[in-house]
Symmetry: C2
Subunit: 225 residues, 2 copies
């Protein structure tokens, strides 16, 4: 399809699948089956299949299903990593995606992925370390002013549970009053009618879920937390 004078470029997708486990942001790694770097832990990734995939986002969905056995409702293009030396097979383009799921969703992937704290990564092949770092920076930055962290939170949840998720992602405490104001402003939640969390030492707390409009896209605010 390309003209003869244009050497082929290797086109892949890589997915940074993030979750929270014990209040720690973790990335899902898979053990590579093939060379290069066979047996190394790496990001789930693979070639774009021009005959099957309608676009690179579809390639990322397919890779997540094949390598981790799951679908991520939130899947965003992160950045594209390119060049002559990042892949020993040749000049390559890796379109990187970022996926966020609650840790319960990763129970489906048990035995297929290893969860590793993003602040304690092992050496990774290719430029996967740089790709993970880019994703973490993006997620932390976006969490300041958007509904992004809700995708890490299993529904339904209470507001204190959601606040704890924001705090874990941001790595710092969040003021309760400004957090509640931000949640109102983002208008991303709806109460689950009649559902209260009971059984704790405190009075029952209202349970919430994400409004349908924000299940696959973000609500943004002009100002950070």
């Amino acid at each position: 399809m390309t003209s003869d004078s244009i050497p082929a470029v290797i086109c892949t997708v890589d997915v940074v699948l993030l979750t929270l486990e014990q209040a720690t942001l973790k990335v899902a790694l898979v053990r590579r089956e093939r060379e290069p770097f066979a047996q190394a832990l790496a990001l789930p990734g693979g070639y774009i299949h021009a005959q099957d995939d309608v676009d690179a986002q579809a390639s990322a969905v397919r890779v997540l299903r094949d390598k981790a056995g799951l679908d991520s409702p939130y899947l965003e293009q992160l950045a594209t990593f390119t060049g002559a030396v990042r892949d020993p097979r040749g000049w390559s383009v890796a379109v990187a995606y970022c996926a966020l799921v609650p840790s319960a969703v990763l129970a489906q992937a048990a035995g297929r992925v290893e969860l590793v704290a993003v602040d304690a990564l092992p050496p990774l092949p290719f430029d996967h370390r740089q790709i993970v770092d880019t994703a973490v920076l993006r997620v932390r930055s976006k969490s300041q002013y958007s509904s992004l962290p809700v995708h890490l939170c299993a529904e339904p949840f209470t507001l204190p549970q959601l606040q704890a998720v924001y705090e874990a992602v941001l790595g710092e405490p969040v003021n309760k009053v400004s957090f509640r104001r931000k949640v109102d402003e983002l208008a991303m939640l709806e109460p689950v009618v009649g559902a209260l969390q009971t059984g704790g030492a405190h009075r029952p707390a209202q349970l919430y879920r994400v409004r349908p409009a924000y299940r696959r896209q973000l609500s943004l605010s002009a100002r950070g937390l």
Copy 2:
């Protein structure tokens, strides 16, 4: 370089080169020399040359030189546009970049590019309309909380001139006091020692330029204008 079972994917870069002319945000378009869409106005773009380019950013630099005859100090990866149908030649990956230059720099490109207001685009081939719209949205959003618009401003400039650039990009007036506070917070400028703008009806104004540290990267603030 790819295995025989993986069909080739067309790999290109496209550059959204933006400038301000008469307080209007404009994009530089070039007339395509070859099919598909020969003679149509389109974004400057071209194949990644795996034998020459160290990465896709280098491809974008080369394309800007070849098609517009200029270098853009500010050149940022925007997003990657992919899929089976966006290019009639086949499955394609276009890594899009955004460049910002003062309009005086485009004088070098006279006769090679046409400047068109981003709010009055002609029909564009491929998905170039979507690429331009993505760039404009990104630039307007980033201008709220970063030094990005300084790259549209010929140096040296006065603070009122820079404020006018911010207002043109954002498409709305900016409060002078909060603008001055933001400029201080971003710490992106340095006065040009001994240089004052004279000759107007007002008292002479200090001239500024961008600090070297922020000539190729942004200064960011946590809060918007």
